[in-house]
C-alpha cells in the first residue's frame, strides 16, 4: 500500500540527528514494548508480514508522530484484537475482562534464548527455476496495490540490472493477508541514481532493492 511507511525519497523530515552514545532504550517502557511485541508474536497467530502491514496501516498522521516502539505497540493492539486475544473492553479497563482465543503456544522465559537463536528463517524451496540471471536487464512493475507490498514507490516502473539471484522467499504480498506463503525467487536489483531520481541525481549513486520475481519483467 502507498502508506506512510514508504519513505524513500520523501522530503521535509529534517536532519537525521544521530545521537552520540545512544542507549538501546530511552525509557523503561520501551523495554517492555520490545518484549511484549516479541512474546505476543511468539503465540504464532500472525507472521512478520502481517505485523509490518499492521504498522504501515496506521493513519499517516499517527505513524509520523509516533516513535518506532509506539508504532509497534499500536500495531500490536490491532493484531491482538483482530485475532481475538484482546478486546476494546480489556484495553479500556486496563486489565483482562473478556475471554481470549487459545494461542498455539506461549513463549516461556526458559525458551527465549533458543527461540531468539533460531529466529524465523523465511527462505523456502521454489518449484520453478529462477526466471532471471545475474546481468539480466529488468523493469519493475508499475502498480499500486492496496494491500501489503515490499516494492517501494520510488522503485516502481524502473529499469535495473539483476545483480544477484538470492533464494526462494515467502511472498509478503500474500502472506501478510493470510493468503499463503507462495514463495518466489528474490533478486537484488540495482538501479542507477538517475533512473530513479532523474534530473539532478547524484551521478555516483546506485541503489538496490531486493525484489520478488513477480515484481519484475524483462526490460
Amino acid at each position: 500500500m502507498n502508506g506512510p511507511q514508504d519513505l524513500g525519497g520523501q522530503m521535509g523530515f529534517g536532519p537525521v540527528a544521530p545521537e552520540k552514545d545512544e542507549p538501546y532504550f530511552h525509557a523503561a517502557w520501551e523495554k517492555r514494548a520490545l518484549g511484549v511485541t516479541l512474546t505476543a508474536g511468539g503465540m504464532g497467530a500472525w507472521n512478520i508480514d502481517e505485523s509490518r502491514h499492521a504498522r504501515e496501516s496506521l493513519h499517516p498522521a499517527d505513524y509520523y508522530s509516533s516513535s518506532y516502539y509506539q508504532i509497534w505497540i499500536k500495531a500490536l493492539e490491532t493484531l491482538l484484537k483482530r485475532h481475538g486475544f484482546v478486546t476494546e473492553r480489556d484495553l479500556a479497563a486496563g486489565k483482562a475482562v473478556d475471554a481470549a482465543a487459545t494461542p498455539k503456544r506461549v513463549l516461556k522465559a526458559a525458551d527465549v534464548p533458543a527461540v531468539l537463536a533460531k529466529g524465523g528463517p523465511c527462505d523456502r524451496p521454489v518449484a520453478t527455476p529462477a526466471r532471471f540471471r545475474a546481468g539480466d536487464r529488468v523493469r519493475t512493475k508499475n502498480f499500486n496495490p492496496t494491500g501489503h507490498t515490499r516494492l517501494p514507490r520510488y522503485a516502481r516502473g524502473k529499469n535495473g540490472t539483476i545483480e544477484a539471484v538470492r533464494d526462494g522467499f515467502v511472498f509478503p504480498d500474500s502472506n501478510a493477508h493470510g493468503r499463503g506463503e507462495n514463495p518466489q525467487w528474490v533478486y537484488t536489483v540495482v538501479f542507477d541514481g538517475a533512473e530513479i531520481w532523474g534530473e539532478g541525481a547524484d551521478p555516483t549513486l546506485t541503489v538496490s532493492i531486493d525484489a520478488w520475481e513477480s515484481y519484475l519483467e524483462p526490460a
Binding site: D6, L7, G8, G9, Q10, F13, P15, V16, A17, P18, E19, E22, Y24, A27, A28, W29, L34, G35, V36, T39, A40, G42, R55, Y64, S67, Y68, I73, E77, F85, V86, L91, G94, K95, A96, V106, L107, K108, A109, V112, P113, L116, K118, G119, P121, D123, L151, P152, Y154, R166, F169, V186, I196, D202, T204, L205, T206, V207, S208, D210, A211
Partner: protein, 205 residues
C-alpha cells in the same frame, strides 16, 4: 530513601498503555512476563555491535574468512556463534577504494540484529529512511563523513529478508594487530555505512 525505581510508568501515558497491555496479556496467560525480562537482557547485554565488529576484524585478518563472508555471510557469521532473529539471511558488503556502501530500510526498520543488536532510533525514523536513498552524501555529512566527490555510493535498501552488514575498509597502520585490537576500530555506524572504521591512534591498547 532509595530512589532506584523508575517513575515513567506513573508519568508517561504511553508507559501506562504498554503496562496495561502487558497486564492484560499476562492475566490471560498469553505471555510470560519473565520472558520479556530475558529478551531485554539479551539485547542489552548479549547481542550488540561488538558481534559485528568481531566479524569485520576477522575478515580483515583472515582472507579465507573474508572470502567465505563474501560468498555465504550467514554461514561465516554463524561460525562465530552469531545467529538468530533478524540475522537469518545475511549479506556482507565490502567497501572498496571505489565504492562506499550504505544500508537502509525505507519501508520499516530491517536491521541485522544478530550482529548489530537493536537499531538506533535514527535508523528507524523518517529523516534517515527518506533521504538515504536520494541524498546519501547529505546524510553522511550529518554523521560528519564527507566522501570524495568521485567515490561511488551504493545504497542497499533492505526490502526483503536479507540483512546487510557493511565491512568497512581496514585502516592503514594496523598491520600485525590482533582481531581484538582491530575490532575496537569498528563502530556500529561503520557497519551500517554512516561512518568509516576509526583511524588507529598510535599503538593498540
Amino acid at each position: 530513601m532509595t530512589h532506584d525505581h523508575d517513575h515513567d510508568n506513573e508519568l508517561d501515558p504511553f508507559a501506562a498503555r504498554v503496562r496495561a497491555l502487558e497486564t492484560i496479556l499476562t492475566q490471560k496467560g498469553l505471555i510470560d512476563p519473565a520472558a520479556i525480562d530475558v529478551i531485554v537482557d539479551t539485547y542489552e547485554t548479549k547481542i550488540g555491535p561488538r558481534n559485528g565488529a568481531r566479524v569485520v576484524a576477522k575478515a580483515w585478518n583472515d582472507p579465507a574468512y573474508a572470502d567465505w563472508l563474501k560468498r555465504d555471510a550467514t554461514a561465516a557469521i554463524e561460525s562465530l556463534s552469531y545467529t538468530g532473529r533478524q540475522g537469518e539471511h545475511m549479506q556482507a558488503v565490502f567497501n572498496t577504494e571505489e565504492t562506499h556502501n550504505l544500508v537502509v530500510c525505507t519501508l520499516c526498520s530491517c536491521y541485522p540484529w544478530s550482529v548489530l543488536g537493536l537499531p538506533p532510533v535514527w535508523y528507524k525514523a523518517p529523516p534517515y529512511r527518506s533521504r538515504a536513498v536520494i541524498d546519501p552524501r547529505g546524510v553522511l555529512e550529518e554523521f560528519g563523513l564527507t566522501l570524495p566527490k568521485d567515490k561511488k555510493i551504493r545504497v542497499w535498501d533492505s526490502t526483503a529478508e536479507l540483512r546487510y552488514l557493511v565491512v568497512p575498509m581496514r585502516p592503514n597502520g594496523t598491520e600485525g594487530w590482533s582481531e581484538e585490537q582491530l575490532a575496537e576500530l569498528v563502530s556500529r555506524d561503520a557497519m551500517i555505512g554512516t561512518a568509516l572504521a576509526r583511524e588507529p591512534q598510535g599503538e593498540p591498547a
